[in-house]
């Protein structure tokens, strides 16, 4: 698998993702700056956490104007796998690659803690190494992770089985306990919890490895996605 890890000014989990994919999952991966205009040749694009452009207006609201986002849309439209984590999830919703939006946690505070999750759908490219109903613990670290979509959109998401992870003890007010979901086509996923922070026993948990292993499985033998 060949992965691109996007990096926007203000991203701060880009190096962590690179480490997880390269050093732990042992896959090819490179950092790709937000000024890049093509993503041809990658199997997977990872949109990392952090505070792109400071997240000053709304999280992800400025990042969507970066040049690489046009390339990302093409990449996704061609069926390439895209995973946005935390700020990456926020960017993908702002860019319209995923439905809904993320607003302030109901506590109005940032929260960093290990979060119990339930695998809602284990048939996606991002979760095929888990089993449905499996309990996981992945770290969260966000202030704006409260998932919102209007009733109609939410119903469509559920009808289409797009929810991949749900919170077991909703920490932020997300509708339907949504912690991670895909687009309708199933090739783009966003999630607030950080799987890349749970890939080494030394750091406390390896529950996040399944996300990367699932993608390796999904892309095995897959031809690189054309631009």
């Amino acid at each position: 698998m060949k992965a691109a890890v996007l990096t926007f000014p203000g991203s701060n989990c880009d190096e962590d993702l690179l480490w997880a994919v390269k050093e732990i999952a042992r896959q090819e991966a490179t950092l790709v700056p937000a000024t890049t205009t093509t993503l041809a040749g990658y199997d997977l694009v990872l949109v990392p956490g952090g505070f792109s452009y400071g997240d000053y207006l709304r999280s992800g609201a400025i990042a969507k104007f970066a040049p690489v986002m046009t390339a990302l849309k093409t990449f996704a439209a061609n069926g390439g796998y895209v995973l946005g984590i935390c700020n990456g999830f926020q960017i993908l919703t702002e860019a319209g690659l995923l439905p809904g939006a993320l607003q302030w946690n109901t506590s109005l505070t940032f929260v960093c803690e290990p979060e119990p999750l339930i695998v809602a759908n284990a048939t996606t490219a991002f979760s095929n190494q888990y089993t449905a109903g499996q309990k996981l613990s992945l770290p969260i670290a966000h202030g704006e992770g409260n998932y919102y979509a209007d009733d109609e959109t939410l119903a469509a998401i559920e009808a289409n089985d797009q929810v991949v992870f749900r919170y077991a003890a909703n920490p932020n007010g997300s509708l339907n306990d949504i912690a991670g979901l895909t687009n309708a086509a199933g090739n783009v996923m966003g999630m607030m919890p950080h799987p890349e922070r749970a890939v080494e026993a030394l750091l406390g948990s390896t529950d996040g490895l399944g996300v990367f292993d699932s993608l390796i499985t999904a892309t095995k033998g897959a031809a690189h996605v054309a631009d």
Partner: protein, 735 residues
């Protein structure tokens, strides 16, 4: 603006410098050394550079007594931060800084900019910031104002640290009446670097360029509070504010760019320093002075956020997120291009000159022309004749607790704000970004692994104002010992310390006494633990209406773990593990949480502390951890054994069944130098053989029940009950 500035003669006559914090004697001394009357800009520069913050007028004689060097120290106090060798070619860089006053005035931004400032100190040395800690002290009356203060300070620290992507891995939050009007906000940052990349803040080499980088200079934070009264006299200025706002996004870019310069443009870079207190003047003058050169700056070239700024304002602005570099002549463009790629302002604003004159040009005029040493070296230092405060001369009699219902006392103790878990506050900090955090807040010390080595660093920030109030010397030593104890409990060998000296008005003989005595205690302890002071910061005048805070030196300590397998956490791991107590427990209740619970105050002499005994115990515990004999370890601090057992049981909801000769009261004694460890059954024989009589068997870990047979009582409860109290108490009280 300009035209309203007083002339040199008017300054002599009307003494506006008094409002800037200078004394008449200091002005006279400056004038005499200069050989002429200084103009308004020059007096402004003097006021910034001769402030306690920059010149350490009162604290220098004290700081001179600190022990600052051993064979591992690569750079001691004097630069942005200190540096210690950790092996495999790597070094650790750390420093702490106080932002007490700004946080009292504007809690969110005050705390946020405190974090921003200390981070710049770390990367100015060339180190990548890898972890932060924060030491906070607030009043114990949870008024609406105080709650807002607590909430906003925590939000500010998180808001900045989380955004810039540096994990906050430890710290402390204390509540005491002494801090009701003078909260303490101390921040510490730790960086890691290759030994070979160490940078200094120096501007050497005639003709080399002075490069200004980062945020534009605005009228924020100019000369602190005096600016407000001195400058905002006109009507239309009422809508002005001198509050400094942090911009973590800018700082993230600045950090990355400056580190890239240090790593990839070593030929070009002569020196680098951050702009902290007294902004542009302190950074530039210090860089010239350290290198023994002169300097000329053209202020028209300084990026400015507002029109019409005077030289005084430009030089003394404390706008955040700015750095000053000295770049070798001919290499300017490659450095400017690098910053341009990060979308950062960078300009050549001056040159290194032969000689020692510090010259500033503004609109084509020379607005300052003085020997640089006048700003950096010729500052008088002051000592006050110390006098022992009356309360220390006549300590209260020793406190003897009476305990009728040990279970009830235990529960009440756990709900005290100082004992209760601070989790709902520190969980607002990202503790894991950079994915190196082995121990996040909640343990005895934060631990991060060092990429590219087989090592880890442990770090802690501790202060004990209430103990220093009872005995500054012993309290100072205890604070260092406690910090070392926290590190040892994780398996680390203490390396060195940074400090923030938070005190009241040093011109008061009693305050000076506290300063001097506590320094004695700190110095003695640092020698015993082999932890030289490599950096630090002084915050004096923490007083309101003439009443000062407890003498509160904050000790930030960093330790080294050479074996990733030997990192030990506080959590009980498995039922059946054996529990041991290191250190003798005495009837030490003066200054304890039990005393506070029962009397509402801390009083009496400090008893039961001996540096050598403490050191021996720490060495024994560390050796046992390094021998892989220990499954959990925790030091005993506030709340003694009673608090420690709950803290160890909480995470996995495991209890203890034990029998001990200790009394109910001794369960709460706060005798120093103690640890609890657990040992897996298979390792018991080896453990007992290695530690001998240093540890006493206390009991065995259970699946949740807590059954303790004390000398005078029996306790039968559960970890679930006790841990819940400790976990929920503070959040309830802060609602």
């Amino acid at each position: 603006m300009l035209q309203t500035e007083p002339t040199p003669e008017q300054i002599r006559e009307h003494k506006p410098y008094l409002q800037l914090g200078l004394t008449e004697a200091e002005y006279d001394l400056f004038t005499a050394r200069l050989g002429r009357l200084p103009n308004y800009t020059e007096v402004g520069l003097q006021s910034g550079m001769w402030s306690e913050h920059c010149a350490y007028k009162y604290s220098k004689p004290i700081l001179k007594t600190f022990w600052t060097k051993n064979e591992r120290v690569l750079m001691g106090p004097g630069e942005g931060a200190g540096v210690i060798r950790i092996g495999e070619g790597k070094a650790v860089v750390f420093k702490a800084e106080s932002h007490n006053h700004p946080s009292a005035v504007e809690p969110y931004e005050g705390a946020a900019t405190g974090i921003g400032g200390i981070i710049r100190d770390i990367f100015s040395i060339g180190a990548k910031p890898v972890a932060s800690l924060d030491s906070l002290a607030f009043g114990n009356q949870f008024t609406a104002h105080n709650q807002n203060l607590i909430e906003q300070v925590v939000a500010g620290i998180g808001g900045y640290g989380n955004a810039i992507g540096i994990p906050t891995v430890g710290g402390e939050i204390q509540f005491d009446a002494s801090y009701q009007d003078n909260p303490l906000v101390n921040a510490m940052c730790v960086g890691v670097m290759d030994e070979k990349d160490i940078q200094r803040g120096q501007a050497a080499g005639v003709g080399n360029a002075i490069v200004y980088v980062g945020a534009k200079t605005g009228r924020d934070g100019i000369n602190g509070a005096s600016f407000a009264s001195a400058q905002f006299s006109k009507e239309e200025d009422a809508d002005r504010s001198a509050v400094q706002v942090g911009d973590p996004f800018m700082e993230k870019l600045l950090t990355d760019a400056c580190l890239q310069v240090t790593h990839e443009h070593q030929d070009a870079l002569v020196g680098m320093q951050d702009m902290g207190a007294a902004g542009l003047v302190s950074s530039s003058a210090e860089m010239a002075s350290k290198a023994g050169f002169g300097m000329t700056l053209d202020l028209d070239l300084i990026p400015q956020r507002e029109p019409g700024m005077t030289p005084f304002e430009i030089m003394l602005s404390e706008s955040q997120e700015r750095m000053l570099l000295c770049v070798r002549a001919g290499y300017e463009q490659e450095v400017l291009d690098l910053f341009a790629a990060y979308d950062l302002d960078a300009v050549v604003c001056g040159r290194v000159e032969p000689g020692h004159q510090y010259r500033l040009l503004h609109h084509g005029e020379v607005v300052c022309d003085i020997p640089v040493s006048l700003l950096t070296d010729d500052v008088p230092t002051y000592t006050t004749v110390p006098q022992q405060p009356a309360r220390l001369a006549h300590p209260a009699p020793d406190f003897t607790p009476t305990i009728t219902d040990v279970g009830a006392t235990w529960r009440a103790l756990l709900a005290l704000p100082n004992i209760a878990s601070k989790r709902h506050l520190f969980q607002q900090y990202d503790a894991q970004v950079q994915t190196n955090t082995v121990i996040a807040p909640g343990g005895d010390a934060g631990v991060i692994r060092v990429r590219g080595t087989h090592r880890a660093l442990a770090m802690t920030a501790d202060s004990n104002g209430r103990l220093l109030a009872l005995d500054p010397e012993i309290g100072g030593a205890i604070t260092v010992a406690e910090a070392a104890r926290n590190l040892v409990a994780t398996g680390a060998e203490p390396l060195g310390i940074t400090d923030c000296l938070n005190y009241g008005d040093p011109s008061k003989p009693e305050v000076y006494y506290e300063l001097q005595e506590s320094a004695k205690g700190i110095v003695a302890a640092t020698k015993v633990f082999n932890t030289p002071v490599i950096s630090g910061n002084v915050s004096l005048y923490n007083e309101t209406s003439g009443v000062g805070i407890h003498p509160t030196p904050m000790i930030g300590m960093v330790g080294l773990i050479e074996d990733l397998e030997a990192i030990t956490t506080i959590a009980f791991k498995e039922a059946g593990d054996q529990v041991y107590l290191f250190g003798k427990t005495g009837d030490d209740y003066n200054g304890s949480s039990l005393q506070y619970l029962q009397t509402g105050a801390y009083a009496g002499r400090l008893t039961g502390f001996d540096l050598q005994t403490e050191k021996q115990t720490q060495d024994t515990v560390l050796a046992a951890i390094r021998a892989h004999l220990v499954t959990a370890a925790h030091d005993l601090a506030d709340g003694g054994l009673a608090a420690a057992l709950v803290e160890m049981g909480a995470a996995n909801r495991l209890g203890i069944q034990g029998t001990t000769a200790l009394t109910s009261a001794q369960l709460f004694a706060e005798t120093q130098g103690r640890f609890i460890v657990t040992v897996a059954p298979a390792a018991v024989a080896a453990f007992e053989a290695q530690v001998g009589a240093a540890a006493a068997h206390l009991g065995v870990v259970t699946t949740g029940a807590i059954t303790l047979q004390l000398a005078d009582a029996t306790i039968d409860t559960t970890i679930a009950e006790l841990a819940t109290i400790q976990e929920e108490a503070l959040a309830c009280q802060l609602k």
